[in-house]
Symmetry: C2
């Protein structure tokens, strides 16, 4: 093989990038280690050296998302008020959605990725904690519905009709819409009209 | 068979109801005509008399949704202004989501249902026309993102965490949030602050 040996960390990153591209196109279930190897122009053994199963690649991808979620939750829990905590949680969620736009597009189309995630205890406890922060301490019905619709912001990040909108602009719009949705659900945050 | 023969229309409705229950629990791909027959306490031949394939049941379910969408689109196109048209389209979409809450929960979890729908020309043309009505005649970026997030309202209808909220209350909340999202995306509709 003419290709020079890359350090292991770099090799992992290349496999993950290739896997993400293929997941987006073929779904997780439609992607094999062999396809990843072909995409990279290496042998299947070279991919296997980095990851023994496709599920391990998926978990490696989401592990970085988990770390971001943990950071957001810690920041939100350190906030001075419940409203501040909600704002931090929302901003962190939007950053996460934007930073993983390609994965979001895969997740929304891909039941296998969803199943792998939902069977992962860390994922479930992080998303429910993030959900609680978005709900606030005493959620009424309006706020509960708004927080659920916020969960649908990922729909926009995954929407092929919005693929031409760059990350920074989409982040700003989603943050604006998310803030609007949450303040609508929290009567105490309604601005006084004088 | 002791069971009296029901008229064909009624038999179809019973098969559809049973299929929806099973789709919600097992997904479309996890549901067979035999399971539908067992659920109804009839023979598979009796189900087959109504529907020759599972896909036909899915299409029968969505056909009623298609009819509603056609009605909404006709009403919106007859509206006096683009803003009115958007309002009619949004209200129709929310009614559709609420009226098919159980199906929405299935769609969001079920790639096969999604595939059957997306391969259906009528579905694609109806959803894009509805999308255009939500966007309005000259959509800017804000409006495009808002219209995409609106597409995520179905997420709330399918959210098991909101299962305790009754249809009328959820309809009102989704309509409120949808209106809020769309007016935020249309600067001309911003109220003057004096």
């Amino acid at each position: 093989m003419a290709r020079p040996h890359a350090p292991r960390g770099q090799g992992r990153a290349r496999v993950i990038d290739a896997a993400l591209e293929l997941f987006a196109e073929h779904g997780v279930s439609g992607t094999s280690l062999q396809m990843i190897a072909d995409h990279l122009g290496v042998t299947k053994a070279a991919v296997y050296y980095q990851f023994h199963a496709k599920e391990d690649i998926v978990l490696a991808v989401v592990e970085s998302a988990f770390d971001e979620m943990r950071g957001t939750i810690a920041d939100a829990e350190a906030a001075a008020s419940a409203d501040d905590a909600t704002g931090v949680a929302l901003a962190g969620l939007v950053d996460l959605i934007i930073g993983h736009r390609q994965v979001m597009a895969s997740v929304s189309r891909d039941p296998e990725l969803g199943r792998i995630l939902e069977s992962h205890e860390a994922f479930n406890s992080l998303t429910s904690r993030l959900g609680e922060l978005l709900l606030g301490p005493v959620p009424d019905t309006r706020r509960r519905v708004a927080a659920s619709v916020i969960g649908g912001l990922a729909h926009a990040a995954a929407d092929p009709l919005l693929a031409d909108i760059d990350d920074a602009v989409l982040r700003e719009q989603l943050l604006h819409l998310g803030t609007l949705l949450l303040s609508s659900g929290s009567p105490t945050r309604t601005k006084a009209t004088s």
